[in-house]
């Protein structure tokens, strides 16, 4: 009798263990295990291999040579392109997250108040999100074209001069930022709208009874209760911003813009790996970026982890 109980609680084989688990647990495992395996094989193992590579001089063409921390030391001490691209990346990330976030928040507030046609506007704003970044990049490249582009045509029509949007180091990154904000706006609006619709209407009604105006309601009800949404948008925006590559590559014709003014860290990584065939060095840049993203995410979580309750 004792033995039987023991077998039930501590089954010997995997099959017995599976049999002894609840049906719901088995279902959850059946659903999760393929995804976990997929992630492990196609993300986890390559990541570990990339970390291993970062300690080698390696180009897939010659035998790899172990160089210890040399790739990291080079990145920190001699790779001036890394610092320039990091600065560009931070500029890009801050602009898209802050400016894009503020614009999306305002649009979401306006859309939330619309009773008729809200779905239409949501669809319109969301359309660029479902378009390929490459297509969007090509589209904006033509909009910015100095001679025939619609933006310069408009500037000239209202009596202003032409700007060399993507051809000038002063405006190349800005041009990419504008296109990227336009592309991502719909997604952020939808997230804000979901958050706004989760705020109970009774809170606004109570505030109205107390004589609060629109600004006060936004300031004291909407913004505090949207804190989790802001955190989500901030974290995903920062991560996406730090990983930006496609739009720069497409809009600058693959060269990072005049004087590398629109070259981001991932662009630099790509160029190092596939332009110069320096896989080990590129892997070290990837892990420097990884550490930056982790540190920023932890900081953000720490400073935004306050709960709001009314």
């Amino acid at each position: 009798m004792e033995l039987k109980t023991s077998n039930k609680t501590r089954p010997g084989t995997i099959i017995e263990k599976i049999k002894s688990t609840k049906a719901t647990t088995r279902f959850v495992l059946a659903v999760l295990i393929p995804s976990a395996l997929w992630y492990l094989i196609f993300n986890g193992i390559p990541m570990i291999y990339a970390f291993y590579l970062s300690f080698f001089k390696m180009n897939f063409l010659d035998p790899p040579k172990f160089v210890g921390l040399q790739n990291y030391i080079y990145s920190f001490t001699q790779d001036t392109d890394l610092y320039l691209s990091l600065l560009n990346t931070v500029n890009f990330m801050l602009s898209t997250v802050l400016i894009g976030g503020i614009i999306a928040f305002i649009f979401a507030l306006l859309l939330n108040d619309i009773k008729k046609g809200a779905a239409f506007f949501r669809t319109v704003y969301f359309l660029p999100v479902v378009c390929s970044m490459v297509a969007i990049g090509v589209l904006w490249t033509w909009l910015y074209q100095p001679r025939f582009g619609i933006i310069n045509s408009f500037l000239q029509f209202i009596g202003l001069g032409r700007l060399m949007w993507l051809q000038s180091p002063d405006t190349a990154l800005l041009s990419v930022i504008v296109a990227s904000i336009w592309k991502g706006l719909g997604f952020t609006i939808v997230i804000f709208l979901a958050g706004l619709q989760g705020i109970p209407g009774s809170l606004y009604e109570a505030a109205e009874v107390d004589g609060a105006n629109r600004f006060q309601k936004i300031r004291h009800i909407t913004i505090p209760l949207l804190r989790p949404t802001f955190v989500f948008i901030l974290i995903t925006g920062v991560i996406n911003g730090l990983q930006a590559f496609t739009q720069m590559h497409v809009m600058t014709g693959g060269d990072g813009g005049p004087l590398d003014s629109a070259k981001t860290i991932v662009f630099h990584l790509y160029e190092t790996a596939f332009g110069n065939y320096q896989m080990g060095r590129a892997a070290s840049i990837a892990f420097i970026l990884f550490v930056i993203i982790v540190v920023l995410t932890v900081i953000q979580l720490k400073f935004t982890n306050k709960k709001i309750q009314y």
Binding site: N59, L61, R147, R162, Q167, L259, N276
Partner: protein
């Protein structure tokens, strides 16, 4: 029963041995250049008729991904037997290429027939890894209609850069608000490469004498860039943000552009209606000697991958010998690529002489220099590209050369040249 077993066994052995006798060798071949691939395909079909035991699997891979695919293929054990090659990648991939066998391609014959053979093709010892096909260099392309409308004839083709600048200025048209409407001379996208030719004309070089650094911020370099700066920022024959030189000529937005001779093939494919002509680069004193008056590059042919099975390698070289011994193919592939044949015996071919672009490049080639390897960080990712960006954005000549030179030298320190041939140029006497 025993008899039946013996008959079955004999039949089986017959089938197996017949299969072995009639087994075909399949050669895989990659290229990135569609017109060249289409031409090669014609010859492959002919070769297959003559050699029914050989089959081909051809694959077109876009230029942007070509060498990344090849590199990934090497890492993953999936490479073609034969790959079209470009000498910008020669040193990176050299260890994975099979040297051309000297019994099939004797060196003395190659040296006798091929222009600049040692400087352009022999990478170590006596080994060469890809077949010499053609030579390319920079030319001036001009729009014939604009040229005629401005009253110019063939007699006005400039011999000096001063004459050239006057013509470029005359052909430039500005809008009422001062923007360039028609560029007299569009250098956009290629300014740094153009400067390098002028630098050579002034007596400068791409590399220092030992090939370990660049020396661009020198008197020849500065004088050459001052001329370019005058064209762009003083005479305003083009402007920042103007169309890239290819589109500028194609859309008839520029009267003249500087380009390497491949542009002829590109124009014929994309803008066949545009009537253009070409002429050799002018010089500062109107003389071609002692040269060099420009850089050249050799358009190389196919290479055999070292990782290919031994039998396929032998079969691949047999095919390549058959292909490259066919002068008709060599002439046609040069016409497709817009290059002068590397084989000097083909320079007089009526089809070569009848093509104005290739005839012009063929005349210019003896006065051009092959510097050897040019890393991407010296030509496209920094260096010459930096000169272009800085001049178009109003930097001074000295500042542009200093920054570009620092970048290029840093690149060379980082990845020293393995193939340096600039010192092999022999000045030409009158």
């Amino acid at each position: 029963m025993k008899k039946l077993s013996i008959v079955t066994l004999v039949l089986f052995l017959l089938i197996v041995s017949a299969g072995a006798v009639f087994a075909k060798t399949t050669l895989s071949l990659w290229d990135w250049h569609l017109p060249r691939m289409e031409l090669t395909q014609e010859y492959i079909e002919q070769y297959q008729k003559e050699n029914p035991g050989v089959e081909f699997e051809t694959q077109l891979v876009g230029w942007n991904d070509y060498f990344i695919r090849l590199m990934a293929g090497l890492a993953g054990g999936d490479v073609p037997d034969i790959a079209s090659f470009h000498n910008s990648q020669a040193m990176a991939f050299k260890n994975h290429l099979q040297p051309y066998p000297k019994d099939l391609f004797p060196l003395d014959v190659m040296r006798e027939n091929i222009i600049n053979f040692d400087a352009a093709y022999v990478l170590d010892g006596d080994n060469f890894y890809f077949y010499p096909v053609g030579i390319m260099s920079g030319l001036i392309f001009y729009n014939k209609d604009m040229w005629a409308k401005a009253g110019y004839t063939d007699a006005d083709i400039p011999k000096t850069w001063d004459e050239f600048a006057d013509i470029a200025e005359n052909l430039t048209q500005h809008t009422s608000n001062g923007n360039v409407n028609i560029a007299g001379f569009a250098l956009n996208g290629i300014l740094g490469v153009f400067w390098l030719d002028l630098n050579y004309q002034k007596g400068g070089t791409l590399y220092s004498e030992d090939g370990k650094a660049t020396n661009w911020n020198s008197k020849p370099g500065q004088e050459a860039l001052q001329y370019v700066d005058k064209l762009v920022n003083e005479m305003r024959v083009t402007e920042p943000g103007f169309l890239d030189f290819t589109e500028a000529l194609g859309t008839e937005s520029a009267a003249m552009v500087y380009s390497w001779s491949w542009l002829s093939g590109w124009m014929d494919t994309n803008y066949p209606e545009v009537d253009y002509g070409v002429f050799s680069l002018p010089t500062f004193d109107g003389k071609l000697t002692p040269g060099p008056i420009a850089r050249n590059n050799h358009e190389i042919g196919m290479a055999v991958m070292k990782a290919a099975p031994e039998n396929n390698k032998a079969e691949a070289f047999t095919f390549l010998k058959w292909l490259y011994e066919d002068t008709d193919y060599l002439v046609r592939v040069n016409l497709v690529l817009g290059t002068a044949p590397a084989n000097k015996n083909l320079l007089d071919d009526p089809r070569i002489q009848g093509n104005p672009v290739i005839a012009t490049i063929a005349q210019q080639v003896p006065y051009t220099i092959m510097p050897g390897e040019i890393p991407a960080g010296v030509e496209v990712d920094g260096g010459l590209a930096t000169i272009r960006d800085m001049i178009f954005n109003g930097a001074s000549v000295e500042q542009a050369l200093k920054i570009a030179n620092d970048e290029a030298t840093k690149e060379l320190r980082e990845t020293p040249l393995k193939w340096y041939a600039e010192d092999l140029y022999v000045p030409i006497t009158e």
